[in-house]
Symmetry: C2
Subunit: 302 residues, 2 copies
């Protein structure tokens, strides 16, 4: 079943203890779409400038991602530059140039409006609402947000949150949004704002899912080499939503959601093994399932 993602497509400059890249394809919608493409048909709505070349388009096309909704306008594509130190859960932003993204107003191609699965990537909550209004009645709406919108657009964010099913955010955002340090209390407070399910990503400390009367937690897989954590959270969301989109019957029950968290973790773990999309775009379904099994073995108790 087709999954629609609306979010940023960007160029990133990234430095980590394992190296640096001056300019590579990135953006939350890009990572999400590539990760989700291993599970389901994905349609991407976003905007790029005229520096977005055929080679960049090819990354999406080779994964079968629909780009009918990827607007191309005069100007430069969104650019982000940042750096990670040894603790890759923390990053420093050096530069953010919104460029063509500053005037982004998502317009859905008419045939996208009936898609059953929607993910609202980390963009202005007013734009997220705009997308919600254009959709007929998706089965599942997932969403991400960040500190910038939590601080500056809380009211708009509140309106968006009321009409989604799953919020996928990281631990510091969950704390900021709820005003609660304790994650159990933070998740409860966030669920009271709308989403029946909250998934809290904790970087290399794993992820935890909260819903009515149920908590599920997975550690991260200890990895030999972490090259670049950029996009890990978006890849997690892509694996999570991608799995749900192909398991409609399970998508609202605990077992399906648990498996979706593991598939999200699998995609996040692959994403960090190389810079940018290099590892993520060259996966096989066999590798994905093998790592799913590694996650099961990691926590297995007789």
């Amino acid at each position: 079943m087709s999954l629609l993602v609306v979010g940023s497509v960007a160029f990133d400059a990234v430095r980590t203890p394992r190296g640096s890249v001056d300019r590579m394809l990135g953006g939350s919608a890009t990572y999400f779409a590539v990760a989700a493409s291993y599970f389901t048909q994905v349609q991407l709505v976003g905007v790029v400038g005229d520096d977005f070349g055929e080679e960049h388009h090819a990354v999406l096309k080779e994964r079968g991602v629909g780009t009918e909704g990827l607007e191309r306008v005069p100007g430069k594509t969104f650019f982000w530059s940042g750096e990670y130190n040894a603790d890759m859960n923390e990053r420093t932003t050096h530069d953010t140039q919104l460029n063509v993204f500053a005037d982004f107003h998502p317009k859905l191609p008419p045939r996208y409006r009936r898609l059953p699965y929607l993910f609202l990537g980390n963009i202005d909550p007013e734009l997220q609402s705009l997308v919600q209004e254009q959709m007929e009645k998706p089965d599942i709406i997932g969403m991400d947000t960040m500190n910038f919108w939590i601080e500056g657009k809380r009211e708009a964010l509140g309106r968006t949150l009321r009409k989604i099913h799953v919020l996928v955010i990281n631990d510091s955002e969950a704390r900021q949004l709820s005003g609660e340090y304790n994650l159990l209390k933070a998740a409860r407070a966030i669920r009271a704002l709308g989403p029946e399910t909250v998934v809290i990503k904790r970087g290399d400390n794993g992820a935890t899912l909260f819903r009515d009367g149920e908590i599920f937690s997975t550690p991260a897989l200890p990895l030999e080499e972490v090259h670049d954590p950029t996009g890990a959270g978006d890849s997690f969301a892509g694996g999570f939503m991608g799995y749900l989109a192909t398991h409609r019957a399970e998508a609202r029950d605990g077992h399906g959601l648990r498996r979706a968290v593991i598939y999200g973790s699998v995609m996040g773990s692959y994403a960090v093994e190389a810079f940018g999309l290099e590892r993520l775009r060259r996966l096989t379904r066999k590798e994905i399932d093998a790592r799913f099994q590694e996650f099961k073995n990691l926590v297995h108790i007789d």
Copy 2:
């Protein structure tokens, strides 16, 4: 089977966001012994001053902990004062008064020398070696250490590490000891120093066990209230070693060690629910097994 622990018995002054206590019984050996006492007979070797009263002794006695090796000498008991902020994985030490602990030279009562299970609490590695030399041939020797000894007594620490089976330390100590930030590499480097098994405690991010060709990880149980993390790591070690001491046949295989990590996590999770030993000393085996099941449910995937 009897488990011997050598380590500190102390009074602690602790402040956390949930309250403060000016003086309460603590110390690594105390937390360890109380936690392990729910699984096996524990003998404690340590030293206290003449401010250690009958009411403190009673905490150990009520849990059946043997105190034949708890020396009482003139002077004051080891005192530690510290504070935790919202992120209870980090603490600030305000005061450390070694007092009678400064001249501690562990002497094992003769009948302790043949005990099959030994835990070397976080004390000077030269004293840890002294204890190892007095023991005949324990089946399993577990050990803890800390930044202070890693910095100041690395050579002595190296000698102690060569003759133990399991090192139980936290993530920052594992990084410092190994010089590796990546925990997979850190554990491998530490295992090359002696211990066949390394258990890395990660506070409210769970714990991970590394041994030959095997990794096991558990998230922490999300808790409604964390009052005081003091002694959580020692309680973890107590649950871990206590379980192994009563499951001799499993103690060297992966399944037994995995269960031991969960029992360690169970004891750590109870320890933080109240200040000092208040929750830990009043547990039932039924509560312990119920929480073991909660840990299993937390990570369960169909």
